[in-house]
């Protein structure tokens, strides 16, 4: 049996994340919303690069 996800997803999470700009490894700016506009996205926030 799968363990349950730890939190209930909030309805407006995608709306809040979409306009946030982050930096790709080539230095370009990317709006998060562009990452799931075509297909589902697995978005992983890492603790840190260490």
């Amino acid at each position: 049996m799968w363990p349950m996800p730890q939190v209930e997803p909030t309805n407006d999470l995608a709306q809040r994340l979409a306009p946030i700009s982050v930096t790709a490894l080539d230095g370009s700016a990317v709006e998060l919303g562009s990452l799931w506009d075509q297909r589902p996205l697995l978005l992983v926030h890492l603790r840190h690069f260490g």
Binding site: Q6, P9, L13, V22, P40, V44, R47, H48, F49
Partner: protein
Amino acid sequence: MFCREHVAQLRDFKEELDRRDVAVAAMGTGDLMYAQDFAEDKRVNFPLFVDEAKASYKAVGTRKGSSRNFLKPSLIASAARVTAKGHIQGKLGPAHMVLGATHIIRPDGTVPFAWINDDFDDNADFAVALASLDEQAQ
């Protein structure tokens, strides 16, 4: 080291995500040069981004770890398990007390899977996250 194990798991899981036509993106809090070194060292095969302002971390509501938890027997056991797999602790990056999170977001903005790490070793299982797409689709 838990971050390194998590990245290795994601790297191994990438093929399954491709097969299911699910995109993947990972976010980190360090600066760009730090991220580039990390990606090369860990042979990252998925898009990796830097969020120095931690705006997306705040939006998803990530938690902060406590240094007191370093003494928790369960965390010490987890650290030993991860180290035995070869995931050695690297240089601590900025904001290293900020914990992680995992979400799946659909093109329509719905979020069938949300996981906010509760401790340093509390990472989501990617297979469980992917299974949530199936459950929601039924």
